[in-house]
């Protein structure tokens, strides 16, 4: 006697319903997406608290708020949490899992079980990372964990840190494999690659980077842990090792990691702008090619992080030119977004405001990025607050703004309820002012020689640092209206209807919140996801 039930499907029908499903090993991509987002946001609150502690310490020149080694541990934990537990999982895992199956016209990801495994690696490794702070010898070598600092300082916390990052890297690779298979193989019949919404392309490029570069980080960290545990000398100059090899291997992952953090944001903003400007996305084909150009170039620019590490001149020349070239595809994307807005029927709402905030901040971060690619300038400001300002303009002003924009845009999709626009605009105003107040002055600090990752500084920088700390305070406060907004909408929000923005991308062509398996009947074939501004007859 044989019973033939597709095991995957029977699993699904037996899973818990209601809010309990968010605490289960759910195989539904929508549940996993929300799990990623909420989990990531909780870690964002922890990382934000650490950032506030850093800014309190830096409000005065002496290290009076916390001892110097604690300061180093706090900044290490802040960087690691924000990158590996907030930005990478949320901008890839959360929105990718929620949206990609809709965009390709599928009922789930290609490998639902692998997907759930990838998510459930995150909470335990996140807790490990936080726990590493409390053991003796917490990691204090920064998120880069450069040897020899990471192998000479007390080490038990550093080892837990490495294990945690390895697990998070594994989660990221599983996610990347899943996205590639879903986008390439699981497309609805009749849907061509060049008809996919831009976020699919962004995630395809990102996942290629994840699959190609994350394993190198894993290998590097394994060698680093050998250095710590087994007393080998891969990266320990005392034992004949070579620290620069660590830097090369580390940045081979960690420069593409910048694009792993920002390319999905490019994709998301390309979804949000056309909807709220009621215009087709400008230059679809050039957008696709610039994403792929960024992927290829992103793999060959890593040594621009190492201009002061005794890099030979030919290498400096090559990596300067390659890095400057990245400005071309990125610039194309920037002008395409502006052209999308140009002459559009723009609605000023929270999602739109955060997206515009992204464009403004990202231009700043991009320009300082091109400046940093130039060897003479880079040597001048290397390891100063100029670099801190630059990358916060990219990852916070760029990606985090887009995460908030996306939450405002897709909250009605996920919950079926609207967010309060007034609170949303308040959230945007405080975040935007706070962010720029916090990080714009740091350019000046860096140019004047204030080094990063040091608890104490020259008293002449105190006033500017206090402005920066004030900005950080505003950023911390800005979370309050956001959380109130989420809470009010969840309990007592206005019902949104299925398609509150009149959007044309496929995720809006089903009920909000969507049913299990996404569509009642067959998945719709969306040939023009950005066909705004045309007459209804032309659309059909």
């Amino acid at each position: 006697m044989t019973i033939s039930i597709d095991p995957q499907k029977s699993d699904k029908s037996l899973q818990p319903k209601g809010w309990l499903r968010y605490f289960s090993f759910s195989l539904d991509h929508k549940v996993i997406g929300v799990q990623y987002l909420v989990c990531g946001f909780l870690f964002y609150l922890i990382g934000g608290t650490l950032a506030s502690a850093i800014r309190i310490e830096l409000a005065s020149p002496m290290s009076d708020f916390m001892p110097r080694d604690v300061y180093n541990q706090v900044l290490t934990l802040h960087g690691t949490i924000m990158i590996f537990l907030w930005i990478v999982p949320v901008v890839n895992g959360a929105f990718g899992n929620y949206l990609i199956p809709f965009y390709v016209g599928a009922r789930d990801m290609a490998f639902p079980r692998l997907n759930a495994v990838a998510f459930w690696l995150i909470p335990p490794s996140g807790l490990m990372l936080v726990a590493s702070y409390f053991v003796e010898g917490a990691a204090q070598a920064g998120w880069t964990a450069y040897p020899p600092l990471s192998i000479t300082t007390p080490q038990s916390g550093q080892i837990i840190w490495i294990m945690s990052v390895l697990l998070l890297g594994g989660s990221s690779i599983f996610g990347g494999i899943n996205f590639i298979a879903t986008i390439i193989k699981l497309r609805r019949p009749g849907l061509k690659l060049m008809q996919l919404p831009m976020y699919c392309w962004a995630m395809l490029g990102t996942s290629l980077l994840v699959v190609l570069s994350t394993p190198v980080l894993a290998g590097t960290l394994i060698l680093l842990s050998f250095d710590i545990i087994a007393n080998t000398g891969f990266f320990n100059p005392v034992l004949g090792g070579n620290v620069v090899v660590y830097q090369h291997l580390f940045w081979f992952y960690s420069h593409p990691a910048v694009y792993i953090m920002v390319l999905p944001a490019f994709g998301l903003v390309s979804e949000i702008l056309p909807v709220h400007a009621r215009k087709p996305l400008f230059g679809y084909t050039t957008m696709v090619f610039s994403i792929m150009g960024i992927v290829v170039l992103g793999l060959v620019v890593w040594a621009h992080h190492m201009f002061t590490s005794g890099t030979p001149p030919w290498m400096r020349l090559f990596f300067t030119i390659a890095t400057a070239f990245i400005a071309v595809p990125t610039g194309i994307k920037f002008f395409n977004w502006v052209a999308t807005l140009w002459g559009g029927k723009i609605s000023i709402n929270s999602a739109m405001l955060f997206s515009c905030g992204f464009i403004i901040n990202f231009v700043f971060g991009g320009i300082t990025g091109v400046a940093l690619a130039q060897v003479p300038f880079d040597i001048h400001v290397h390891d100063t607050y100029f670099v801190v300002a630059h990358f916060h303009y990219i990852v916070y002003g760029g990606t985090v703004f887009i995460i908030f924009s996306s939450i405002y845009h897709w909250f009605p999709k996920v919950t079926g309820k609207m967010l309060n626009e007034k609170l949303g605009i308040l959230h945007f105003i405080i975040t935007f002012i706070g962010f720029n107040l916090c990080f714009a002055p740091q350019h000046w600090l860096g140019l004047n020689g204030m080094p990063r990752r040091v608890a104490e500084y020259d008293p002449q920088f105190q006033f500017v640092n206090q402005i920066s700390s004030l900005g950080a305070l505003l950023m911390a406060i800005s979370t309050i209206p956001f959380l109130i907004n989420i809470f009010l909408s969840m309990t007592n929000g206005k019902i949104s209807g299925d398609n509150p923005w009149d959007a044309l991308t496929p995720e809006w062509l089903t009920s909000s919140p969507p049913p299990v398996e996404n569509w009642k009947g067959e998945a719709p074939l969306v040939e023009e996801p950005y066909g705004y501004g045309k007459k209804l007859s032309e659309q059909n």
Partner: protein
């Protein structure tokens, strides 16, 4: 009970109507193997860089002998062929033949690991002696871990391709094909490793 079953029925119908798609498990595996290969690429790059810029300190011993690794290379190449034979046999529903070939492949894998350990115990240098020694053990050890996992998977496949009650049959070839691809991948890595570590 009936509603649950009927809902399963509709889902099953949905599955058949809407969700017919090609089998892309192999595609996922290939993507994973590319990622795995990048880990090795990182190790190789590190080793070659050390070789280019870090001279061996005076008095440090780093010498490798060729006979055992050459034997190991032959073992792995032969095991790739025998694995292929196993797949062919299973495709023709000759399960017991397939099992024989699989057990022989696993046997070759185990011999490989024994030779590797024998080499480890007879080398004139240890893990922490010098940079090249460390890199040698890290690279061959990481590869050995892959061989160990592969051998275990081959044994599972061999057990599951038994005639009565086995889950790997000519109708369900994927597990065998997946492990075969993985095994060829591990072989390929060994050939590169052999060239880079022993011959260069």
């Amino acid at each position: 009970m009936t509603t649950l079953e009927s809902s399963k029925e509709t889902q099953k119908n949905n599955f058949e109507v809407n969700e017919k798609h090609e089998d892309f498990r192999m595609f996922g595996l290939i993507t994973f193997l590319i990622a795995d290969g990048m880990t090795f690429a990182g190790f190789f790059a590190a080793y070659l860089t050390y070789k280019a810029v870090n001279p061996l300190p005076d008095g440090a011993i780093y010498e490798l002998e060729l006979p055992i690794p050459t034997l190991n290379t032959i073992l792995l190449l032969v095991s790739s062929a025998t694995f292929h034979k196993a797949g062919k046999a299973l495709l023709k529903d000759r399960n017991s033949d397939s099992q024989k070939w699989l057990f022989f492949t696993a046997f070759l894998g185990i011999i490989f690991l024994i030779c590797q350990l024998f080499e480890y115990f007879h080398l004139p240098f240890g893990l922490t002696d010098n940079l090249f020694a460390s890199t040698f053990y890290a690279l061959t050890g990481f590869h050995g871990l892959h061989v160990t996992l592969g051998t275990l998977m081959i044994l599972i496949i061999a057990w599951q391709s038994r005639l009565n009650g086995g889950r790997v049959t000519s109708q369900n070839m994927f597990p065998l094909e997946a492990v075969e691809l993985y095994w060829h991948f591990v072989d390929g890595i060994w050939v590169i490793l052999f060239i880079i570590l022993y011959l260069l």
